[in-house]
């Protein structure tokens, strides 16, 4: 199975990844979440062999069996949609016929077949990311690495993109996708949350929620102890296992769970 084990990556004297293990099973979408600087892109780059591991192992298929969409989408701005496809197909050594039939299928599914003659730079953000996805999928890779394909993309295009990503997984690919949208991550089979180069939580979304120590509760006024945050007009609070819980205990969503896990970790290391 594709993944990394006990992987440490040091970049310019700082530890970008600190001994993490992540598995990317085939036929599923694994969502990699975390803020800027958490190590998401470094993990993808390590799996692509573009940064060296200081320690640990990286298991991936041969480079020709990996598809990669960088956060900038990988679309060539001065080429048309059709030229982008032909150029990338040639780079993968695909025959003209194979490129044509595969491109027809992918561009039609992505809803951008009518835009073949448009330049990459003239595409909307959502269309550009969908084309970037098609380029990464062109050679039917076994491992698909997508770096923030949905960031800055509106909800409608994001749903369309998600349908493409799940279809790729249903087709048997192992998909690792970074995202900053936790509602999107919540749809994935597995969520891996990175923070400061470490795995904060991993598992299916329900497992991540179950892993929160203590209790998350909701109240109408702030208990005021630094473990409270706002959600609309209500106050959500994380309380460690032995503490007194203010307000009403709730099952947290993924967003609240990661806030609580971060608070718990901060208190542990203090």
């Amino acid at each position: 199975m594709a993944g990394v084990r006990d992987l440490t990556v040091e970049l310019g004297g700082t530890t970008a990844l600190a001994g993490i293990s992540v598995e990317v099973p085939p036929g599923e979408v694994t969502a990699l979440v975390g803020g800027d600087g958490a190590g998401k892109t470094t993990l993808l780059r390590a799996m692509l062999g573009r940064v060296a591991a200081s320690r640990g192992t990286v298991d991936v298929p041969p480079a020709a069996r990996i598809g990669y969409e960088p956060s900038t989408s990988g679309v060539w701005p001065t080429l048309t949609v059709q030229e982008n496809v032909e150029f990338v197909g040639a780079a993968y050594g695909m025959s003209d016929g194979a490129v044509r039939s595969r491109a027809d299928e992918l561009l039609t599914t992505a809803g951008i077949a009518d835009a073949r003659t448009r330049l990459g730079r003239d595409l909307s953000g959502g269309m550009r990311q969908k084309l970037g996805f098609c380029l990464a999928m062109l050679h039917s890779p076994d491992l698909l690495l997508l770096d923030e394909p949905s960031t800055g993309v509106d909800p409608v295009s994001r749903i369309e993109l998600w349908r493409l990503v799940t279809a790729a997984a249903q087709g048997g690919a192992a998909v690792l996708m970074t995202t900053t949208y936790l509602d999107e991550a919540e749809r994935a089979a597995t969520v891996v949350a990175l923070q400061d180069g470490e795995v904060l939580a991993a598992g299916d979304p329900a497992t991540v929620v179950d892993a929160v120590p203590g209790t998350v509760s909701v109240s109408d006024s702030p208990p005021g102890d630094g473990r409270t945050w706002r959600r609309g007009r209500t106050f959500h609070t994380w309380t460690p296992a032995d503490g007194e819980v203010p307000g009403r205990a709730v099952t947290p969503d993924l967003e609240d769970s990661l806030v609580a896990l971060t608070l718990a970790r901060t208190e542990e290391t203090r």
């Binding site: 803020g35 953000g125 959502g126 900053t180 509602d183 749809r187 706002r230 959600r231 609309g232 608070l263």
Partner: protein, 292 residues
């Protein structure tokens, strides 16, 4: 004054292209209003008119009771998506620069996370802290209206929670807040929402108001992959969530029939639609020509 900013049936044309059509929107003191919509829906053009950077073709815009160009800019705090910081200057120098620009009388202390890097160039402090700094700068001059464009993109959940604590604290103190976002959980932080599509305001109200009339068919099946494939092949707007298929705005009976024909045993229930699902349906309706 009851509203800080008000757009009344505003239209903006660029040549033959109408970017905004008959949109009304207001923000009162203490209120957090979310402006949602697809890329190209007209959100940025509307914001630019409110900020006095574009003139409306027709309709009326008022900021603090005056035409936007005459309005008191000192009372406006703006955090653009690009943050608007000087990358080569240190954290402290950025704050001093903004304080001098606005002739701010008293400059609040830097929060601890920023104080720790006060002399670092902004380009080196990481995006989470840059975002915190942009907020700090926008709040230096105690604005009455805060305009935020995708305020928490790229930050981790705790940092996002802390930024929203700051936004809520400002609103509690009477500041009006106008936020654009693509992040639905962030939209749910707002008191009310205005959803734009193709230049028009197509839905408005609280999250509950907007999602009230929309339901989603939810499919649990042992062979979840087969259930998803059957519904997808049938052309239904189905989205895979973990191992559950969800078809927003689709009658459960329609879903049951497709699954029966495909001989996939499944349990189909109906649930309230999420805000995201509702937005997708609203956008599809708008594209089809009708709008709410």
């Amino acid at each position: 004054m009851t509203t800080l900013v008000a757009a009344d049936v505003v239209t903006k044309q660029f040549g033959a292209f109408t970017a905004v059509t008959d949109v009304s929107l207001s923000v009162a003191p203490g209120e957090i209003v979310g402006l949602l919509g697809s890329n190209g829906a007209g959100k940025t053009t509307l914001l630019r008119m409110l900020l006095g950077l574009e003139a409306a073709t027709s309709g009326h815009v008022e900021v603090f009771g005056e035409a936007p160009a005459d309005a008191d800019r000192h009372a406006l705090g703006y955090v653009p998506q690009g943050l608007g910081l000087s990358q080569a200057l240190s954290v402290r120098q950025n704050v001093e620069f903004v304080a001098a620009t606005f002739s701010a009388r008293s400059v609040p202390d830097l929060p601890p996370a920023l104080a720790a890097v006060a002399d670092e160039p902004v380009g080196r402090i990481g995006l989470g802290r840059q975002r915190q700094l942009a907020f700090h700068c926008a709040l230096l001059h105690s604005p009455r209206l805060l305009v935020l464009d995708e305020p928490t993109s790229g930050v981790d959940p705790l940092a996002r929670a802390r930024l929203w604590d700051t936004i809520h604290a400002q609103a509690d103190a009477g500041t009006g807040v106008l936020v654009t976002t693509h992040y639905m959980q962030e939209a749910e932080q707002c008191d009310r929402l205005v959803i734009m599509s193709r230049g028009r305001a197509v839905a408005r109200g609280t999250v509950e108001d907007i999602t009230a009339s929309t339901r989603t068919a939810v499919v649990h099946a042992e062979d979840w992959a087969a259930a998803f494939a059957a519904l997808d092949d049938a052309g239904l707007p189905v989205v895979l969530t973990g191992r559950t298929s969800r078809a927003a705005g689709t009658e459960p009976d329609v879903v049951r029939r497709v699954l029966e024909e495909a001989a996939v045993p499944a349990e189909v229930t109906e649930q309230p639609a999420t805000l995201e699902e509702t937005m997708v349906l609203i956008e599809q309706e708008a594209r089809a020509g009708g709008h709410r």
